[in-house]
Symmetry: C2
Subunit: 496 residues, 2 copies
Amino acid sequence: AQRLLAVLLLLQPAAAVWPRPQVQRSPPGGGRCLLPPARFRFGHAAGSAVGPGCTVLEAAFQRYRALLFAAGRPTGEAGGGAAGGAGALFLWGTHVEKETVCGFPAGLETFSQLVGRDQNGTYYINKTEIVDFPRFPHRGLLLDTSRHYLPLRAILETLDVMAYNKFNVFHWHIVDDPSFPYESSTFPELSKQGAFNAMSHVYTAGDVRTVVEHARLCGIRVIVEFDTPGHTLSWGPGAPGLLTPCYSGKHPSGTYGPINPILNSTYQFVTSLFQEVSSVFPDFFLHLGGDEVDFTCWKSNPEIHAFMKQMGFGEDYRKLESFYIQRLLDIVSSLGKGSILWQEVFDNGVKLRPDSIIHVWKSSKPYMDEMADVTKAGYQALLSTPWYLNRISYGQDWMAAYQVEPLKFEGSAKQKDLVIGGEACMWGEYVDVTNLTPRLWPRAGAVAERLWSNASVRSLQDAYVRLAAFRCQLLGRGVQAQPLYVGYCENEFGGF
Amino acid sequence: AQRLLAVLLLLQPAAAVWPRPQVQRSPPGGGRCLLPPARFRFGHAAGSAVGPGCTVLEAAFQRYRALLFAAGRPTGEAGGGAAGGAGALFLWGTHVEKETVCGFPAGLETFSQLVGRDQNGTYYINKTEIVDFPRFPHRGLLLDTSRHYLPLRAILETLDVMAYNKFNVFHWHIVDDPSFPYESSTFPELSKQGAFNAMSHVYTAGDVRTVVEHARLCGIRVIVEFDTPGHTLSWGPGAPGLLTPCYSGKHPSGTYGPINPILNSTYQFVTSLFQEVSSVFPDFFLHLGGDEVDFTCWKSNPEIHAFMKQMGFGEDYRKLESFYIQRLLDIVSSLGKGSILWQEVFDNGVKLRPDSIIHVWKSSKPYMDEMADVTKAGYQALLSTPWYLNRISYGQDWMAAYQVEPLKFEGSAKQKDLVIGGEACMWGEYVDVTNLTPRLWPRAGAVAERLWSNASVRSLQDAYVRLAAFRCQLLGRGVQAQPLYVGYCENEFGGF
């Protein structure tokens, strides 16, 4: 699960790096290199297995060149000590694997954080040795574009800042009860009827391509979630017959519940939709949701009753849920995709495929018990419960997120290996484009470091200093990241 | 305390008004007037005691003309019913008093909120009768520019949005322990040594004039706070000898405490500083602070000991605090100014001038008991305890602020009359320019309506609908106000 970043910087920290590298030290004798913007360039080292023509790397060179020499960068202390000129940074990869290429942009990020600027405006980097790799392979951030629509540029900016934090998975909770902004080519009525506004509040096929490609160049996978069978109210108007009609006594009440699991037409619809989604979103995984299925409506419906009886489910609606999820899993599997599911699917005893990933989010039961149970059953686990960053509180609440230790549960080494990472979640009840960025950054950075850095990196004091400095760097890059506490950044009024 | 706004709009609500007017009704028969932007103008009614040449009013005409016909305004339902053309809004004042003139911009705000735009882009206003006046005369908002520096434009924008909410007092907590951004002409070293950055993080004399004048044109008074004798650490470097040296055993420890109250030089300094401040800030009132005086440092200092003994204060350091505050009150009074003080000054039994205003903020004792005690002693009271909007919590926390009833304490009618209003406070520990606006708006609107509207206006449901609509109007005016809950505004991607 842990890949070596093929970046060794023979240079030394001007600033502290966020998230903290696995190994970072000054070589004996120290020393400082200057980086003259006019001459500095990125290049490929002789003998590197990665060379020109790698689009991810070429794009990263361009991005980081711009970030390194941006006007808003903080100026630090006056330069001192012997300084040599560093005209170039050469990258050297041992082998061309997907992970190696993904690692390069992360290495450039580290490099960029080490570059300082003295009071004369001269760019420099202190000689530093860094060996780095992530602790967990899945370091995700969830955005919810159903409770409030987020314009494309807010998503793209978030992807940029995710990359600065070495997050590598964008979990796009794209639709839910309140609105359906995904413009489907197979079922265009879904967004026409289900978006807040079918013209201005939708993601077109082009928008989705832009997000996926922007993410790819940042070393980020996009895992889209189409949550079913609950959380689908906005699907109803554009997909007649899909949702379960709720009954009041003997008559339909006019309201609707979860997707109707007893009709063949439901599975035809789901197959067609996920067929499209599977090709639009290239990642191997789809997030299938499965959380918070309310049985009330199913219980009220006489046709569901009859079906339950026919299937021998008795009064156990979890069996009906299981029936739906298992068919869904088969459909998704037949499309060549892997599945991630919210924990209820596991809790309710749904029979899962062995490669399913269970996403732990509930707080009704201690989340560490759930992590133990999920991994004991042999499933891979993702942690989110302590990282619901939409749940704000007064003060430095990043600290609670930071202090989480994802492997602190009773279990074997094999179980621990099944924890592939976690996700910071920014649900959208109270968040839209007006407050997303300051609410997310630098708080989500706490989760980023917990998932990237060594388990032994736990000092709040050390983290505070580095996170505060990193936040000033974010301001310099034009990101409206909020302060940790009292103070200021020298460069803080560049972009605002 | 309550003044009639000399504005009667013979027109009717297209939208709900925030804060809710005292009386608002549709005249029999209803009807709608169109407002063609090319022809529409503001003017003075024949016989009005206010006429052309009133700068506040002319500025308000300009501002509201721009706001009325701004590109970002929401479009509403399609027009319908009989429509007449309204080419002008004429204002008519009964007499030229300060309050009348201040009332006009508030009336224009109400008018602007009533103007709708149909789907063809046509501006209209439904015929409405409004009688309006504020319930409390002091409707304040506190910003803290010491814990984080706020750039001038953030203050000016806040003043604009205050006016939209009919706030009329900007309480400028300009300096405190962390930094001293006020550039004093008498003591320039204070900001040179005490600002975060003496060049970029200061308010020059010109900046202050800009704030005061901008506020005046918005119908807002600026009450500046120079908090003493505590909360003055940032004053120390620029004013040698002002702060009390703390002792560790028999020797000075190198740290400093509150202002040193036993030296004549202290009172000379304070007199000169407040002389300057009194002329720079024209409002009759100064906020003198007086909160959270920590006696530890005073207790450690042998010279303070000797003074206490000489004065016969015994071990009662509240008497020393009282000694300082009374001299301060005399100084401020001799400068022709009135005083506002945080509640500790009252709680600690400092002898006050009868016209002092006590600002209630603590939660250690039920704030309504404090309101009762302050007014029973005959002092005017301002409420802030339940309106510390920096203290965020998850969910719709504006509701708690809204449900406060400032007069819900045991006391006589005379006591209730001494409650002149309250202030929403946005302390700066975790707030700077990156998150100020979404954290403040529309949450502070809850306080604005509580202080403006009739005591009977208490329905959360009604408030939710109006506040959500008002927030969409704020977006249309380019204000980054955060959402109340799930949903969207048609116009929300204008400015962001």
